[in-house]
Symmetry: C2
Subunit: 135 residues, 2 copies
């Protein structure tokens, strides 16, 4: 194992190229409190942790969550408090989020099913059409 991995930092360009988002978007996410890269003087230095958070942000976006919702989800990923009551509350949020995701998964599966059936029907039609044409 090399030592290089955990302490690597990324420039704003590197990250924006890697994930195909604009630098503007990254600064915007920072503005909204979703990421907080360090600074070397003026310029931003993104850590591996920042990079991971960005991945979560983008996944959230692909799933149709707003930046505010994503912010709340990110909060679930950042361990902070240690009171039992707080931990129970956090646990409840986790579970709520899981329920949300499961409902979404059902939507997706219904959509996939619909589309797959449409495929079958269409393939069938095409075959019939071809059979007709060859007579």
């Amino acid at each position: 194992m090399e030592t290089i991995h955990k302490d690597r930092t990324y420039s704003i360009r590197q990250l924006s190229k890697e994930f195909d988002v604009t630098a503007r978007a990254l600064r915007f996410y920072e503005d909204k409190g979703l990421i907080s890269p360090e600074r070397k003087g003026q310029t931003r230095l993104y850590s591996a942790r920042d990079r991971a958070r960005l991945q979560l942000i983008l996944r959230g976006k692909r799933l149709g969550f707003s930046l505010i919702e994503i912010h709340e989800i990110l909060d679930l990923y950042t361990p902070k408090d240690h009171g039992t009551a707080q931990m129970r509350a956090t646990l409840a949020k986790y579970r709520g989020q899981i329920e949300t995701l499961k409902r979404q998964r059902e939507d997706i599966e219904a959509a996939i099913k619909d589309m797959a059936e449409g495929c079958v029907w269409l393939e069938d039609q095409i075959h019939q059409h071809e059979a007709e044409a060859s007579n």
Copy 2:
């Protein structure tokens, strides 16, 4: 079986209450060409088909698609042309859509997995905390 089912129509209020969207939204969707209810004079009359389309629209929204994307998806649901070439093209779109949905499903499953692991960890922490407290 009763005869009442297929020919029922819905007012804009009925639909908006049933699906918990505003009348404004329904008119907006119409403006964008997503639904086309008939008119009795001025007022809109939504058919069972319109209702079904609305369900698809809302599902699309829950999955994070834009109205434009939803419009394209709705097009896939409305059979229209009969040329073999067109049907092949449509089939390709179906398949593309399925791929999109499958990628989304993978995102969701990853998210669910993350959250579930977080749950386990949290439950563990809470148990340890309680064990400590009882000594």
